[in-house]
């Protein structure tokens, strides 16, 4: 069965997915057999390919009506961005010492730190080799996204170390970690279609907005979602001491959280988060980002692709209702 998120995208775009997968696997090829095998593993691990789909949909939404889009170069751009995403995940797993990724052993767990470093580097290199064939602006957006990924990673670490409860830190971490590649996907899609600066700005802003909404809703689901449904244990942010959206709203109302976090206390904290309206405030926060995304898409010329972008934003909000 097609995933509801994939089902939102127009068939003209989802039918490109097999070709995208083929090109991705080709980018994992190497003269060194072991490197090829290690690199192709994370590329074959699947995922919904949201970033490539967003890039291709933004490309279609920005394309002048009445002309047949040239998907070939747009597909290369989508592959380059997905390579950046995959490389960043491989390096993330080293930093987080994560053993699992998309339900499989991470490269770090399966082959060790040495291999994971190499694979990440290799995929980044492949991404930029491909991006070098794209228009200069698309290359610049890709490079800027990588810069911000690094900055975001370091900022997140600083926030964790200092226990910062500043909302500006929370927003900046999301902007540079979760939202940055969605922003880049939409911007590159528009650039590849030679869209006007206003359209590029609208679409890149759309990507940023849904990235923020997605992360805030993820924070809400960490409090309210059922582990069986979300596939993640509840209260992980609480136990890890992460000041995610509901906890920030809770503290902004003058409430305090215990210094020592025990998973056994989570049901009581969860009740307080609901009773104080902190969870509802987080839902409103995500809604506000989604409203921003919808306003940007509504300003585009009507098309099946633009409608798909609006439907995606609305569908993401449904997750936490």
């Amino acid at each position: 069965m097609t995933h509801p998120i994939i089902a939102v995208f127009p068939p003209a775009i989802t039918r490109l997915l097999p070709e995208l997968e083929r090109r991705l696997q080709a980018q994992g090829e190497s003269r060194e057999e072991r490197l090829q095998s290690w690199s192709q593993e994370p590329l074959a691990a699947g995922g919904k390919r949201i970033r490539p789909l967003l890039l291709l949909t933004s490309f279609a939404a920005s394309h002048p009506p009445g002309t047949e889009p040239d998907w070939n170069l747009a597909l290369d751009a989508a592959v380059a961005l997905e390579l950046v995403h995959t490389a960043s995940l491989v390096h993330d797993d080293i930093m987080d010492r994560a053993n699992e990724r998309r339900g499989r052993p991470s490269t770090y767990a399966a082959h060790g730190q040495y291999a994971a470093l190499l694979v990440g580097d290799y995929l980044f290199t492949q991404a930029f080799a491909l991006a070098a064939t794209l228009p200069k602006e698309a290359m610049e957006v890709t490079a800027d996204a990588c810069r911000r990924l690094c900055e975001g990673q370091l900022r997140e670490r600083r926030v964790q170390e200092t226990g910062s409860t500043a909302r500006t830190d929370y927003v900046a971490v999301i902007r540079d970690k979760t939202a940055v590649l969605l922003h880049a996907a939409c911007a590159i899609g528009a650039i590849m279609a030679a869209a006007t600066p206003a359209t590029v700005e609208r679409l890149s802003g759309y990507g940023t907005a849904i990235g923020h909404a997605f992360q805030v809703l993820d924070d809400v689901l960490d409090v309210s979602g059922d582990p069986q449904w979300t596939g993640k244990p509840a209260g992980t942010d609480y136990v890890a001491g992460t000041h995610s959206s509901p906890y920030l709203h809770f503290m902004e109302q003058g409430h305090t959280l215990p210094a020592q976090r025990d998973v056994a206390d989570f049901p009581k904290i969860r009740e307080q988060l609901f009773a104080s309206g902190a969870v509802a405030a987080s839902q409103m926060e995500a809604s506000t980002y989604t409203q921003d995304a919808l306003m940007r898409v509504d300003a585009l010329a009507p098309s099946e692709a633009a409608a798909a972008l609006a439907a995606l934003a609305e569908l993401l909000m449904e997750r936490a209702q």
Partner: protein, 429 residues
Amino acid sequence: MGQVRAILWQHLHRVHPEAPPCPATDPNDLLEAADLAAALPSDENAQRQLGAEYARLWARTFKTLVRHLRGRPDQTLRVITSDVLPYLRNDRLAARADRAEHGWRLVIDPGLPLAYVAGITTGILEATGARATATVDGQELHVVVRLMPRERIVAWVRAAAQLRLPLLVTSFLAAAVGLAVAHADISVWQITAVLLGTLAAQSAANASHDLRRRPDPHPFHAQQLGRPWLWFQATGSYGLAGLCLSYLAARHPIAIVFAVVGVAISASYAAARDRGLGPVVAGITHGPLIVWGAAAAVGSSALLATPGPAMLLAVPTGATAAALVLLDDLSDRPLDEAAGRRTLVVRLAPDRSIRLFQTTLLTGWVGLAVWVAIAGGPLWLLATTALLALTVGAIVGRHADDPGRLSAARLLLFSTYALSATTLILSLA
């Protein structure tokens, strides 16, 4: 004069490009309310239209919630005053809704033109299918809501469910099935004591449950009756149930066993529901407990000595009652989820909840069919029950996220229960 979220200004600029651009880029940033007020159009009608248009944008991001607020103007207003306006103004006390004659009185924090807030309020109410007017009166809004016919039916069904009328009727019918087992040997007084006692026990259990439940601070939660009334209902109903039990137990002491089990189940219902066991408890109560209890209370213990028929007799009412609870929970899923209540439906993914509902419903009908095949009974009633059950299953399968259609399914399922009980009674007669 307070603050506002930047999204309102961004929306203003989108609708009226001639208005000054929003000074913030992040839509959740906070700005001075007075600055936005100065940027808004000066005409009150334009302010109302702008507010209503913003409400439509808001509603696109809360589609499921908006669907579940259909026919619930009280709760919609509480969402507006407890969640929407406080968030937009970054002030928990930004708005308050009080009941007033012919509507509601909304006390609004100063800072934004009231016509604009009135537009947001009526816009959200209209997104839920109501027709609303909001008149500015000083620093207050007087809101009058008129429900459309479809929403009115939804509201009636919900009100009946809130007063637990279906539960009272289903208990009554289950007890009647139990009495039918011993139809020839019992007096009118015994029949009255069993039926009245069951009704009173169910009413007492409902009131005790509501009394024990902590008031839910979340506005998505349905309002409940006042505590004095609940105390009166609980004590009065337990008293009446006790009187009926005394009369029945004097002749058949086994009735006490069923009464004790019933009280224990009632006491543990809230905890069981929070663990996702609400439908199981409803099934046990309306199946074995009431059906066997009613039969035993009038001396038909012979039924309990033959496990096969006894079990079979409890399946149709028990499974259909469990399906009724599942359907209620399906209808309330987003609201329960938002309020942090972890019913079985909240715990399961939506498609699994639907399959569970349909399986439970099918179990009830198959139980009834097997009973009719063994004990005889009106086939036309069995066929009608099948038709109703199929319709309910199809509605829930296709429209589980549409509370309006689920209300229709509730009515049909209730009829399915009543027909199943009638079929059993006629087969025993």
